[in-house]
Each structure stands twice: as C-alpha cells, then as structure tokens.
Amino acid sequence: MSPAPAQTAHAIGSRALAWLHANREHGKLSDCPRADLVDDADTYKGLGESALAASLVLRGGVAGTAELALARELLEFCWQQVDNGALLYERLLRHPLKTDPMETYAHFVRGGYRHPQFERLAAHTVTLRSTHAVEHVPNRRLAVANSARVIGFDPGPAAYDWATLTRATWLGATPEPWHIDWLTGYSVTHVVFHLTDWGRLPDRLPAELAAYLTRWLPVWTEIWAESGQWDLMAELMIVGACLPEPWAETGDWQRLAGLQREDGLVPRDDQPVEGDPAELFDAHQHPTVVAVVAGTVALTRALGGAGQPGP
C-alpha cells in the first residue's frame, strides 16, 4: 500500500473507533436470562463485533495512545457486558453445541482477558467429535477453528483440519468468479478473515486461493462499490489487506473516507442515514466495525507487520 491510502486507512479506522466508543451504551445487553441470549441474539452479536474491532486495534500495534485507550475502554465495556466472561461460560454450559460463546470469547483473549472456568469447559467440548460436527455453513466452521486457535486449543487435542474445512467453502472451490452473489461475497470475506486470523497470518491463506483472490477481488470490490454496498465493499478491502501480497487501491480508500460521516459512522449502503442514535447504532454499527478492522489491518500490513505474534 502506498503512503496515501495508508494515511487514509488510519484516519478512517480511528474515526470509526471513536464512534463505536462514543455509542457503546447502545450496544448494552438487555436483562434477558443469561443463558438465553438467543432472545437477544442481534445485540449479543453486535457486542462481539465491537469486541473484535477493539481487540484488533489493541493487537495491531499501529494505533496511537488515544486510540489504544479508546479500544481498551471499548473492550472493557464489552467484557463487563458479558459479566467478565461468566455469561459466556453459562451459555456454553447450558448449550454445549453452541459455538458462539467460544467465537466471542476469542476476541477477549486477543485483548488479554481470560475466564479460567470457561476455558476448562471449552477445552473439554472442543475435543468432542460432536462439537466439530455441528451443522454450520462451511465458513462458520472456519470461524470456530480460528477461535480455537486464538484461545490455544489448536493445534492440540482439538486440532482442526484446516485444509478440509477450507475446501468445503465456496472460495475453496475457486469457482467461476462471475457467478458470485451478495451473500456469497460475505462468505468469501469470512473465509479469508478466519484463515488469516484477520490478517495476522497471511501465509495461512493457501497459495491457490491467494492467486484466485488477487485476480478477482478487484472485480468484486468494483461491483459492490458501484452498487453502493459499502459494508461488503469495506469487507472486501479487508480481504485485500489480508493477502500475502496486500492489495489496495487509493480510490477505494478515498471512497470509503468520503462516505464516512464526520463523527465516524460508516453507512451500511447508499440509503439515507436516518434515525435517533439508538437506531443509527443498530443500522450502522456493523459497517463501522468493518471500517475499524479495515483501517487497522490495512495500516498494520502497510507498515510491514502482520500484527504482534499471538496464539
């Protein structure tokens, strides 16, 4: 990445982080029974996404002091929301086939938090064939495998067969690039995120997939930029930053910067941004999380790093 988009990426990421931090209270979990988070699934998912964004800023090593403080406060807020991990523990205890507790927990591990009871329980469940056989879509299986790797279960007794998991995905088939659709676009981005642990391990992307993405990522980015799908466009820009040889075009970063609001919110698409702060948070928290991740991963790679060594 040339210096110009690196600077733009940094500005986008830090503004988006400020907005997520300022609006974090809108992501509070309601008082539903703790093991019954399915009733509050969207809020819970959003909380995990904010935690992911904060954890990557803390991991990246490229944020300034002020951003590190915001990211730490945001992650701490999320950790308190899950009752210092106890809520994730109770959910896994009650629903042993659910993988979302481990997927969410991994973000906190990345940021230095641990809940020993959760880890003892998860260390047991990940060794069960049952856990590996949960009927997820293929890219979600990679999410689970990456969480296990971040927490420290892989490699080990719960080792995942990454090659087989990868081949099962749409991307793993290196399919006709002209036959992709919007939802499959998200599946492609997530395969890359999990294989590389959000850009930390670019070389874990199999060479043929890296070559395939180098060919077609510019086309897909162009398509969803033209159709105003900013959320997917920005996810595809993260994929570019996760490649062994990062791909970025200045015009894409300028477009993303141009559509970001002054306060840091990134609209999910080209529809009007309307509503009270809580509604805005519901509608645009995801693309703004994506913007934090995009800015952080792109800048980390541009500065020659692949993140601090981690699990």
Binding site: P177, W178, R215, V219, I223
Partner: protein, 275 residues
C-alpha cells in the same frame, strides 16, 4: 450532427443485420447477408439503403463472419454490398489518433472499418476498394497492477514511467476491457494485429471485464468481451478463467441480436458448436 432518430434507425438496422448474419451462420437464413439487407431497405417503404449501408459499417467484419467461420465463399452480391458500404464513405486516409489523444468513437470506427476491409480483401479481393485499409493507431495496453479506473495514460503524463517514446498508453482494466468489447468484431479467426496483441497481453483484464459486465447484468458488454476470451482461447493463450461456461451463461441470458451473434461466434471459436 446525427439526430437521435437517425441514431435509432442505424441501431435498429444494425440489429436486423446482426440477425441476418446469425441466421446465415446457423444455416437458417439465406445465403446472403449484407446484400439482402441493403436490398430489403431499398424495397421497403420508408426504408433507406443509406442506413442499411451504415449498418454494415457498424457491424464491421461481423457481416462477413458467417463466411469466415464456415469457410463458404460469400455470394458476389454480398461482397459487392460491403465494398459499396466501404467506398460510399471511405475511411480517412490518415487514421484518427488513439485515446487519450483522439476521440474514442472515431478511433473505434477506424478499427472496425479496418476489420471489415481486411476480411473483405481476403474473401474477395476483386470487390475490395482499391486503396488498402489504413492501419489505425495501436490501442492502449491494459496494466493489471494499475488502479482499475486509470484512464488511458501515456508516459508523457506519468512521471513515474520510463516507457520509450511512442509506446502505447496504459490503462486500468475497467475502461480498457469495455473499449476492447467495442472492437469485438475483430475477434475473428484469421484477423490479427495490434488490437489482438493488446488482447493477448491483457487476458486478465479481459477476464475481469467480462466478469464485471456479467455481474452488472450488462449482457451486451459481457458477450463482446467474452468473445475476445474465446478468440484468445482459439489462439492458444492461457486464460485466468474457462471461457466455455461463461459463454454458455451469457447465451442463456439473452440480450438481443448482437449479443446473440457475439455468443454464436464465441461458441465456434471455442469449438462448442460444429461449424
């Protein structure tokens, strides 16, 4: 200046002519393409043989594609009609400059004329206009690594590049592939030149352009660019994607007579259909 109405008339006439070429290629129409088209325009009330001859120039070498692809000799009336279309408004002796120095339209037309005149000279030298078709300027080259929306850029405009003077302009794949699509009538067996060299050097750009056009549901553009991929395949160039399923996909999506003709030509270039 050409009026909107005249433009529509030319475009409709070109569509009809494409249908005639397609029928001839499939063996379902008459043996003649251009001649029948011009005669029909003269016979119809309100028809304009001038417009019909203009349509021949719009379609370019595609008017003769059935003969190129089947190996059948064109009827004398057909080559005479093409010769008339070329001589009625002869191409400029000095070809217009390539983009970015010149306008897109004039330069594109010059290449389409070149294709038509070159195929005619091969099929029926006796009916060719006396003067050989001038070779237009080289097209810009696709640079896979440059920003995809970079317009044609010559070395003089780009301080970082150390190209030799006179080297063709370089361009991002988005607009480059669309422009190559406009020259799809050159993607015929036996035609070769600077545009074909640019296609050989830009296989990835063409594959990206065809993918983009397909995803945008711009079927005419997808058909045109995919035809270049088929031509490259027939030429033995390694491609970043398999052109056969893409050609079939575009054929199934439809889009009009001209895309149907492009797809039919591509199918023959790929050996998907017996000639």
């Amino acid at each position: 200046m050409i009026s909107e109405r005249a433009r529509t008339a030319h475009s409709e006439s070109a569509d009809q002519l494409a249908r005639r070429a397609l029928d001839a290629l499939r063996g379902t129409g008459g043996a003649a393409v251009a001649a029948v088209h011009v005669e029909a325009a003269a016979a119809e009330s309100g028809g304009d043989p001038g417009v019909a001859l203009g349509a021949v120039r719009i379609l370019g070498a595609d008017v003769l594609a059935p003969y190129v692809l089947t190996g059948q000799a064109p009827p004398a009336g057909d080559t005479a009609a093409v010769g008339l279309a070329l001589s009625a408004l002869p191409p400029d002796e000095t070809p217009p400059p390539a983009p970015p120095a010149g306008t897109e339209e004039a330069w594109t037309m010059a290449w389409i004329d070149w294709g038509l005149a070159t195929v005619l000279a091969r099929l029926d030298p006796a009916n060719s206009p006396v003067r050989a078709a001038p070779l237009p300027q080289d097209p810009p080259r696709c640079d896979d690594a440059t920003p995809r929306d970079l317009p044609p850029t010559t070395a003089a405009h780009d301080g970082d590049r150390l190209d030799e003077p006179g080297a063709p302009a370089e361009e991002g794949w988005v607009s480059w592939s669309v422009r190559m699509g406009k020259l799809a009538s050159l993607a015929l067996p036996g035609l070769d030149g600077p545009v074909h060299d640019a296609a050989r050097a830009g296989a990835l750009g063409l594959a990206r352009g065809a993918t983009r056009a397909t995803l945008r549901r711009d079927h005419p553009t997808a058909a045109r660019i995919t035809r270049w991929l088929a031509w490259l395949h027939a030429d033995g160039v390694q491609l970043p994607l398999d052109p056969a399923p893409l050609t079939e996909n575009i054929g199934l999506l439809g889009g009009g007579d001209r895309p149907a003709l492009d797809t039919a030509v591509a199918r023959r270039l790929l050996g998907l259909e017996d000639v």
